[in-house]
């Protein structure tokens, strides 16, 4: 039986002061997630960003019910992920980072039994499988053994498993890691479509361009701490305040006083007014200017600034 839960008006996800401590082989404690609080609004796409080892996957694993938090609580649609784990697990779909497939089964069999485990009624399963596989361009592989699929197809099969039971919150841990450009575009399109149909999306990614393309909201995590969260546009505006960003063809050119390097970009604080400072930069760098802008800062710029500067320490 499919779970009937009144989720109207509920936050899909509320994380309240959650911490997770692991012990290494020497018995030393290590805080992978340290006091993170975050609310996710319904119908939005959230990007959970952070460098390797920041605690993103640990947080996702706690939200998914795979790991128990040492401190704090997580609610999915008003239900506690520890106390009501069977109910919360049915409300979410999770695409884990690692590609894992059943060795013995065909694509159709994998999805048939998996959807059954999530309570999809038997008479609906085949039609849903067909529709999802068509969506993911895997319909012609339905009777193929899952182990014989290519890496990209296996990744799509994992997405299919996560969406078959029509979750209210879809969690994707690095969904496009190691996939080619066209498949990445296809997964983005699917994420957008699911979101347009009302599914709240939370995903982690290393590709900041991906987050910029897809996310309305972001949460930046570093060393287990939440260092910034909110609407992507607001954060971009906050970091663009009073500065001009530009790129150079020749990065060895003598810098103008006040210019600082942020990733592949350079940043120049507006000292008088925008037009005067733009003119100053244009005349100094002249034909060496590759691009110049004063609008919202790129996510890469924000990411580097937050993770490399005092905030991460």
């Amino acid at each position: 039986m499919l779970l009937e839960v009144d989720i109207l008006g509920m936050f899909p996800l509320r994380i309240n002061n959650v911490s997770k401590i692991f012990k290494n082989s020497k018995g030393q404690e290590f805080k992978a997630v340290d006091g993170i609080s975050l609310n996710i609004e319904p119908g939005k796409i959230y990007g959970l960003l952070g460098p390797n080892g920041a605690g993103k996957s640990t947080l996702i694993n706690m939200i998914s019910g795979l790991l128990l938090p040492n401190q704090g609580g997580i609610e999915l649609f008003g239900l506690d992920v520890v106390k009501d784990s069977n109910k919360t697990k049915q409300l979410i779909g999770v695409v884990p980072q690692e590609i894992v497939v059943e060795m013995a089964f065909t694509v159709e069999e994998v999805l048939y039994y998996f959807s059954g485990m999530y309570g999809v009624p038997r008479h609906e399963r085949k039609a849903r499988i067909k529709a999802v596989l068509e969506d993911l361009d895997l319909a012609d592989k339905m009777h193929e053994r899952a182990r014989n699929l290519s890496g990209g197809m296996k990744r799509r099969l994992m997405v299919a498993k996560a969406i078959l039971h029509r979750p209210k919150l879809l969690i994707l841990d690095e969904p496009t890691a190691g996939v080619d450009v066209s498949l990445r575009q296809r997964i983005w399109a699917l994420i957008r479509r699911l979101n347009a149909e009302g599914t709240t999306i939370l995903f982690t990614t290393h590709y900041l361009e991906e987050a910029e393309q897809l996310c309305e909201y972001i949460a930046l995590v570093d060393h287990g701490h939440l260092i910034k969260s909110g609407k992507l546009k607001d954060i971009q505006q906050e970091f663009s305040k009073n500065s001009i960003h530009f790129e150079l063809f020749d990065r060895t050119a003598a810098p103008l006083t006040g210019v600082s390097e942020v990733g592949v970009e350079y940043e120049y604080p507006i000292t008088s007014d925008l037009a005067t400072d733009m003119a100053k930069l244009t005349s100094h760098y002249n034909h060496n200017l590759k691009s110049i802008r004063s609008e919202a800062a790129s996510l890469e710029h924000i990411f580097l600034k937050l993770t490399n500067s005092g905030l991460s320490s």
């Binding site: 795979l66 790991l67 919360t88 049915q90 894992v100 497939v101 060795m103 059954g116 999530y118």
Partner: protein, 247 residues
């Protein structure tokens, strides 16, 4: 839970040569050897071949019920798709029960095929003497060792650990449980020690249900089976929960 059960049944059907027919060939070979060597020998009123045959059938259920979940779970752990179980909205106790029932199903299917294929070579063996006990014996043995298999599957970190337990614990227990000889005929203290071997009681009860022959009281064997079933059930629950919800 039923979808998980159906998936596990489908899994052993997919590799039926290994899971179903391999053990039947083994029983056939044992019968061939013992049929020639022990021709005409008796244990009480029971022909020795019938005695061994019923023991082999019980051994078949035990081996199949045990190995089905234990190998499936260790493979799932090694491939990483144990995460499917951890993410599924199924309570840990239901996961354990689904695996144990699938194990029981494999044990029964293998037994039925083995019976159909080999019973013709056992002269004078008819329908079970005690049909109700026979059903109990099938169900309890299949479920009991299915649960033990689930517990082992979740406990074992890798194939080496599982193989170690299978080779150095399960196989000696099965072979010293009276499949090939009546434990009452063993010299003291081995006949007494054998009574503490849980597998002995499964084989004894199964043989009694089928032929009416028993080394010890079948009721004692039944009680021991129920007792160990409870112990294995608790072990299965603890280990399943520990592996599904990680701390």
């Amino acid at each position: 839970m039923w979808a998980l059960y159906a998936r596990e049944v489908k899994r052993f059907q997919k590799i039926w040569i290994d899971t179903v027919f391999n053990p039947i060939v083994t029983v056939g070979l044992y019968l061939g050897v013992f049929g020639v060597v022990t021709s005409g020998q008796q244990i009480g009123d029971l022909p020795y071949l019938t005695f061994v045959y019923t023991g082999l059938l019980a051994m078949l259920i035990i081996n199949n019920s045990f190995s089905n979940p234990s190998f499936a779970l260790v493979i799932a752990k090694n491939l990483g798709n144990i995460v499917d179980l951890q993410l599924a909205p199924i309570a840990p106790w239901r996961i354990g029960v689904a695996y144990a029932m699938a194990a029981f199903t494999r044990g029964v299917i293998t037994l039925c095929i083995a019976l159909l294929a080999t019973v013709w070579f056992i002269p004078g063996l008819g329908l079970p003497e005690h049909p109700l006990y026979f059903i109990f014996a099938l169900f309890l043995t299949g479920i009991e060792f299915g649960m033990l298999g689930v517990a082992f599957g979740f406990w074992a970190k890798n194939f080496e650990a599982l193989t170690f337990m299978s080779t150095f614990v399960m196989q000696p227990m099965i072979f010293l449980a009276g499949v090939f000889y009546p434990v009452a005929n063993l010299p003291s203290p081995w006949s007494t020690i054998s009574l503490f071997n849980p597998v002995h009681h499964n084989i004894n009860f199964f043989r009694y249900a089928f032929t009416g022959y028993s080394d010890i009281s079948p009721i004692i064997s039944l009680l021991v089976i129920l007792g160990f079933s409870f112990v294995f059930f608790v072990a299965m629950q603890i280990l399943t929960k520990k592996n599904i919800v990680l701390k």
